[in-house]
């Protein structure tokens, strides 16, 4: 069997998720051994030509150019897989959704006339069919390797959609919400990071976005009981997955 041909594409994003691929270090040679990394501007000089068995997409669609580009990549790819919060929910740049884009551009750029942007930052799945989404800001190296390994043997990757609380308890961390009243999004956040922040006595920031059947309303009610004010709750939900419906709706409820 010939090695699957991989293309890695960047949309509006910070590059952090792509770099997770390079960050595989010990496993990187094994990855390179089983996959033909045909297009990956962060790592190779090859041009973007031809068909890809696997396309990794990082970033959100935030410009008219990106809206066209994703259609082209979709047409040339067998499996299109999104990497990270930007590609999966719109990213932190989706904070601009619903705001006055022109006013932002005027405030930030010396020459607003050079800026050609959409009014929204949207997930890839709003534009094309996505075969698999890897969550996180950034994605987890462990999950990326699992994704590659599972794809190669033809099984579904194991990236459970359950709460971060499960991973927190598996790791033996002590709950920061129950013992300290720390605002924590763990109970509504998709697992994948290994409960990194609670392991350092911090609340979960929700980097992996909403879990399946997230009850954000019940959690925010308890955060308020524990002493968080509306502004804190609003801001907690308005980060890397601000545009994910379960987070956005609850943030709006705390405007």
């Amino acid at each position: 069997m010939s090695k699957p041909r991989l293309g890695v594409f960047k949309f509006s994003s910070c590059d952090g998720c792509q770099l997770s691929l390079l960050d595989c270090e010990d496993e990187l040679l094994a990855v390179a051994g089983v996959i033909d990394i045909a297009y990956f501007p962060e790592a190779t000089r090859a041009d973007d030509v031809g068909h890809y068995d696997i396309a990794f997409i990082e970033g959100s669609v935030t410009t008219p150019h990106e809206a066209e580009m994703i259609q082209d990549i979709r047409a040339r790819s067998t499996a299109l897989i999104t990497l990270g919060a930007c590609a999966t929910s719109g990213g932190i740049q989706a904070l601009k959704n619903g705001a006055d884009t022109a006013a932002f551009i005027d405030a930030v750029y010396a020459h607003p006339e050079y800026i050609d942007t959409l009014d929204t930052a949207t997930p890839i799945s709003d534009h094309v069919t996505v075969d698999f989404e890897l969550r996180g800001c950034p994605i987890s190296k462990h999950q990326l390797i699992e994704l590659v390994a599972a794809t190669l043997v033809g099984r579904t990757p194991q990236t459970p959609a359950h709460a971060t609380c499960i991973d927190c308890k598996l790791a033996g961390h002590v709950c920061v919400m129950v013992t300290q009243g720390t605002p924590c999004l763990g109970p509504v956040t998709h697992a994948g990071c290994g409960a990194l922040c609670p392991g350092y006595a911090r609340g979960c920031y929700g980097c992996f976005g909403p879990k399946e059947t997230a009850n954000t309303a019940s959690l925010t009610a308890q955060l308020a009981v524990n002493g968080a004010d509306r502004r804190q709750i609003h801001r907690l939900l308005q980060t890397f997955n601000a545009n994910a419906p379960e987070f956005r709706q609850e943030a709006e409820n705390h405007d």
Partner: protein, 371 residues
Amino acid sequence: MTATATKDVTPVVLSHAGLDALIAALAVDRQVIGPVRRDGAVVYEPVSSVADLPRGWVDDQAGGTYRMRREGDRLFGYTVGPSSWKRFLHPPKQVLWRAGDGAITPEPIAKERFAFLGVRGCELAAIAVQDKVFLDGPYRDPHYAARRAAAFIVAVNCTRAGGTCFCVSMETGPKAAPGYDIALTEIGGELLAEAGSDAGGMILSAVPTRPATQADLDAAAAGIAGAEAQMGRAINTEGLADLLTDNPDHPRWDVVADRCLNCANCTMVCPTCFCTTVDEVSALDSDATTRESRWASCFTTEFSYVHGGAVRPGAKSRYRQWMTHKLGSWWDQFDMSGCTGCGRCVTWCPVGIDITEEAAAIRSDLEAEGG
């Protein structure tokens, strides 16, 4: 250890130095796991002496809150924290077998030898529940069996109860029932020690003790009675299994579903919850695969997922299933209660859902209706 005492063993009294000697004696051929204060809670971790124990610390617990504070000078003044002994006997992850090069190799049977220091009555009852699940019946877990057979249990009778404790209702405490090798009760600055097995008796005879007086026995009984009177919660178990099973459409299930986060914390901290799922871990550069079991929870979509969707799609059906199983259908399945009254599910629920309150609400509504 077998938990059968073949002869009456006269209770003795251990000083803190005597407890140190006991820990050292257990550590000769076992890893001693005991209570340690970490990150604002008492958790179970390796201990090497009395100095590691949370002396002078107690906990205040309520639905969704746990706080530690200083009080008195007891070694075991705290009640139960987020961890339980299942973490050691039935660990969160367990390799089952490895495959590669056309062969499947079962994982060698677990060799850990633990000594548990500070097992409370509710926890000893929970170990008995997991024994029933993992050791009886056709699907015996050989790793659990090996760890369990090698484990030495030092129970501690509670002399203080927490805000979410209800062992009295579940008849599991505060005095530990047989099943221990040694049971300790804190009396002043010393500990009354009773052997519950030959192994317990032998090790007690090998460490410095003094004979117990009637005053020591009275002090221990008074301490346990004090804890019994302090129960933070109660649950009326009379007819409870039928009450829950017969009322799957009670409106209270909707009320609890509005609050339930489906986060699974209750099942993770529950000392009797035993469900696991399996993960395949594939190597990138060969056909090697490892199959691992991992704690699972009935509060996830994945748990009840079958072709076409999840049988229990949301909090209402999941909470109902979990609570009805714990307090009801567990009796049909294992001829015992799945709840031992430790209160962990109440304390460690981030929004403080209280199994005793839910049971009472369903009962009182039905009684008000004359049901």
